[in-house]
């Protein structure tokens, strides 16, 4: 059946308009979604703990602020240090958690495993079971990382996923997917971009994107120096 709005005729549908129009529509507020049992449980437990003096409202706020302050800039600092300091890179690949702590980045009980991209191997991270992600290093995961589509296709057809992200790998490179199913958390150490030889550690860190540390993209190319 053809689309009734694709007939090329003038619109003369007999719309009924005998109802009141809502004057404006609004984006629903967060609180307009149904609250789950766990949300009520969280409020109840939090208020009880505050009442009993176990925690304080300020402590809760600070903890949330600290969690939200984590982000890809931390992973980028780790990567940039590894690019400029071969000894640090060796320590990073041997024990990611300890090497992160060296830079003042606390990873908690998490075991950070750093996988290195080379001319022969490209690494890519997924958690097919849920959404395990190195939050202590990269912050809150992107929404697509948690999507069923990414979680299923990253292990099934990783090259098609890379294509869709605009990531083109040279011929002959092995695509190695890491399924983060248990107690390890992963950080991809991308290859240092060509043409970045003269850059400082801070300038290098600016090239390291979140997606390049998940392994669905490559770091930014350095901007061409102005022609002399």
């Amino acid at each position: 059946m053809p689309d009734p709005h694709d007939h090329g005729d003038d619109h003369d549908h007999d719309h009924d308009h005998d109802h009141e129009h809502t004057p404006r529509s609004f984006q629903p507020d967060l609180e307009d979604q149904p609250q789950s049992d766990y949300q009520f449980l969280e409020v109840a437990v939090r208020e009880l703990l505050i009442e009993k003096g176990v925690i304080t409202p300020e402590g809760v706020r600070k903890a949330i602020e600290a969690m939200d302050a984590r982000g890809p800039h931390q992973g980028a600092a780790i990567v940039a240090r590894a690019w400029v300091d071969p000894a640090y890179k060796r320590r990073l690949l041997a024990d990611g958690s300890a090497a992160a702590r060296e830079l003042g980045i606390e990873v908690g009980p998490m075991h950070l495993l750093v996988v290195e991209n080379t001319p022969a191997t490209h690494n890519m991270i997924v958690c097919t079971l849920c959404s395990c992600y190195p939050r202590m290093i990269l912050g809150i995961p992107p929404l697509w990382y948690k999507s069923r589509e990414y979680r299923s296709r990253a292990v099934r057809e990783p090259r098609a996923v890379l294509d869709e992200f605009g990531t083109v790998l040279p011929e002959g490179v092995e695509v190695k997917v890491h399924d983060s199913t248990a107690d390890m958390r992963y950080l991809v150490l991308p290859m240092r971009p060509a043409g970045s030889e003269g850059l400082s550690e801070a300038e290098l860190a600016a090239l390291v994107t979140r997606d390049s540390m998940i392994g669905v993209a490559l770091p930014e190319a350095p901007r061409q120096a102005a022609a002399e």
């Binding site: 990783p158 098609a160 002959g172 092995e174 695509v175 983060s180 248990a182 107690d183």
Partner: protein, 99 residues
């Protein structure tokens, strides 16, 4: 004591027990090679139900060729997937379900 060594060929059990399982479906019954031992960790199949997760289980990263997981895999034959798998889900390759 860890039962398997890096480089050893192993098979994943082709089992379907009820409950919280962290061995993905797509590698059950498949053959791979131990990439490394990650250490020993409390068993999530017990932790998920309020258990203490003891005894701890050795956890391995096992490397699978994509073609071993998906016979119709479209990418390069050298492509691989590495998956964290607890020891009680692994057997020596010669005892594998499909061997």
């Amino acid at each position: 004591m860890a039962r398997f060594r890096p480089g050893e060929r192993v098979a994943v059990l082709s089992a379907d027990p009820p409950g919280h399982i962290r061995t993905p479906w797509y590698c059950r019954g498949k053959f791979g090679v131990v990439e490394r031992l990650c250490g020993s960790f409390r068993n999530p199949e017990s932790l998920a139900y309020g258990g203490d997760g003891e005894p701890k289980q050795p956890l391995y990263r096992v490397r699978f060729g994509q073609r071993a997981l998906w016979p119709d895999y479209q990418g390069a034959t050298i492509d691989t997937v590495e998956i964290e798998i607890y020891e009680h889900w692994l057997v020596p390759a010669r005892e594998g379900a499909d061997a």
